[in-house]
């Protein structure tokens, strides 16, 4: 159960996030089932405003990843409050396939490598990123491995070794 301190911080974050980004959908989540306290849904833009707002409240970037929903991408960022209240906020941005979101690396330097990894595996190019190059795959690779259309997945071909 969230402690009183956590509830206060949660309410504080909710209100300042809705002030910073009016169009976001902010919902509280059950921590025991999903692992995050707050979930923020954005369409297309707004990640940097959310990042700045969360940094003022003492949150730091924990993870950046992307989901390949076939007709769109969804970027997922998790922010965690390391020092006081142990709250986790999950911020998701739904992007079109060719969209170029802004990078949050000026606000959180850990995003430099985390976003490079997302570019390396999904092909999402970030704007204003200091060094958007391949990080894990070979430097001259011309493929993006984690797309659902790459390799053998259940969207491309039948998987033959699964006991379905």
């Amino acid at each position: 159960m969230p402690t009183p301190g956590q509830k206060r911080l949660l309410a504080d974050v909710k209100s300042s996030l809705s002030r910073a980004i009016g169009e976001a959908q902010i919902e509280e989540r059950d921590y025991r089932r999903t692992g995050c306290h707050l979930e923020v849904r954005l369409e297309g833009t707004g990640m940097r405003r959310a990042a700045r707002c969360l940094k003022e409240k003492g949150f730091h970037l924990e993870m950046v990843t992307a989901l390949d929903l076939i007709e769109a991408f969804e970027l997922v960022y998790t922010y965690f409050n390391y020092q006081d209240q142990n709250l986790r906020v999950l911020v998701r941005v739904r992007l079109a396939r060719e969209a170029k979101p802004y990078s949050v690396s000026e606000i959180f330097p850990s995003a430099i490598w985390l976003e490079r990894e997302v570019y390396d595996f999904f092909g999402i190019r970030f704007k204003e990123h200091p060094n958007l190059t391949r990080i894990i795959n070979p430097d001259d690779a011309d493929y993006f491995p984690l797309l659902k259309t790459f390799g053998k997945t259940k969207f491309t071909a039948e998987i033959d070794d699964v006991l379905c």
Partner: protein, 375 residues
């Protein structure tokens, strides 16, 4: 073909040159590649290059069922493989809402802490070997041998374990394991004193690691550093205490933290964590409850559609498993947030200004497992 951004150092009168601390090197434990720009012996820039051990674990997750993926997390960070194995099981249990019986939780905690001690033995001793003292390294492997023998009795393998199952563990612990662990705890406590005499009091060691690689609290938090590296910089963050999971709320242990943020602080944090792990194992062995070791879980699980982010503490820092399920037996996406990935990036910030010898010391004190970075 690898294209590396290099400076042109063919001019013999140029002062600054680049050195490959290269994928093959006696001190980069794993295949880690740094491109150091040096001025004489002082590092001007440090650029880590990763990706030499990429095996595609995240893509593999999209082609296997949840049960078939069980061996994979172990191989990501093979030094704390059992912790990763349990973490994956717990993430899926959280997603499905499975309740794990008490005895299984206690067994998980005991074996996790043994694995943590084994991993710290390598981490600490690799750091000391990077400084030049080879003898403590051999002593550390001796202790690790004892743990590997113990875990082999229960889990069946010595390095890459796949002992956890959804809902519990695979088989019960034996009386031999119980007695062996008790003996090991006593022996290890004496050995810790020996290690402190041999290493911590040594003036050469102190001079090599004090004020070397100072990582301030703000830099550490901004770069997403977790684990003993963060605790050595003054932030008492440990997932076992901040977001308790499994049976950890029932044990009393402390989180050792130090303020200085240099290599010596990180080393001392790890040595103190060894003692805390021994305390946890002792408490768990004292209070081990009887009961079933596995919940009643269908043979092929199908989690409901949704997502979960589960965070747990490996020997290197806070790991996160982000599992997205679409209702079928094959996960939609599994993302592993690996602590070494963020920890190694901070080296490009703290290495400049130090000597070449210090780069090895800093890299050893951050204690990175390279395959975990590349997955």
């Amino acid at each position: 073909m690898l294209t590396i951004k290099t400076i042109d150092d063919s001019n013999i009168h140029q002062r600054v040159y680049q050195l490959n601390l290269g994928p093959q090197h006696p001190s980069t434990h794993g295949v880690m590649h740094f491109i150091l720009t040096l001025d004489g012996e002082v590092v001007v820039a440090c650029d880590p290059h990763i990706g030499y051990s990429h095996r595609g674990h995240e893509k593999m997750a999209e082609n296997r069922t949840y049960e078939q993926y069980l061996p994979n997390p172990t191989r990501m960070d093979y030094l704390s493989g059992l912790i990763f194995n349990y973490g994956y099981c717990q993430a899926v249990e959280k997603l499905c809402g499975i309740e794990v019986p008490k005895r299984a939780e206690y067994i998980r905690v005991i074996t996790s802490e043994l694995n943590r001690i084994a991993s710290h033995m390598i981490g600490i001793m690799d750091f000391v070997m990077g400084l030049g003292a080879i003898t403590p390294f051999v002593y550390g492997w001796d202790d690790r041998e004892q743990i590997l023998d113990l875990l082999e009795m229960v889990c069946g393998s010595r390095l890459t374990y796949s002992y956890g199952r959804f809902g519990g563990v695979r088989n019960d612990i034996t009386q031999e394991f119980y007695d062996g662990t008790r003996r090991f705890i006593d022996r290890m406590r004496k050995r810790l004193k020996d290690y402190h005499d041999l290493i911590t009091g040594n003036i050469i060691f102190i001079k090599r690691s004090e004020n070397v690689g100072v990582l301030s609290k703000e830099t550490a938090l901004e770069y997403g550093v977790t684990g003993p590296t963060l605790r050595g910089s003054g932030v008492p963050y440990d997932v076992r205490k901040n977001e308790p999971y499994s049976a950890y709320p029932e044990f009393e242990f402390e989180i050792p933290t130090r303020e200085e943020g240099d290599c010596l602080a990180r080393y001392l944090v790890r040595m103190a964590e060894l003692e805390q792990s021994l305390n946890i194992i002792e408490q768990a062995l004292d209070r081990l409850p009887p009961g079933p070791i596995r919940a009643d879980v269908p043979r092929f699980i199908t989690p409901p559609p949704g997502e979960v982010y589960f965070s747990f503490e490996s020997a290197r820092g806070a790991v996160g498993f982000y599992i997205v399920s679409d209702g079928s037996r094959i996960p939609y996406r599994i993302k592993v947030r690996s602590p070494s990935f963020s920890n190694v990036f901070v080296m490009s910030k703290i290495c400049p200004g130090h000597f070449l010898a210090d780069v090895i010391a800093i890299f050893g004190s951050i204690d990175v497992t390279v395959p975990e970075i590349d997955r």
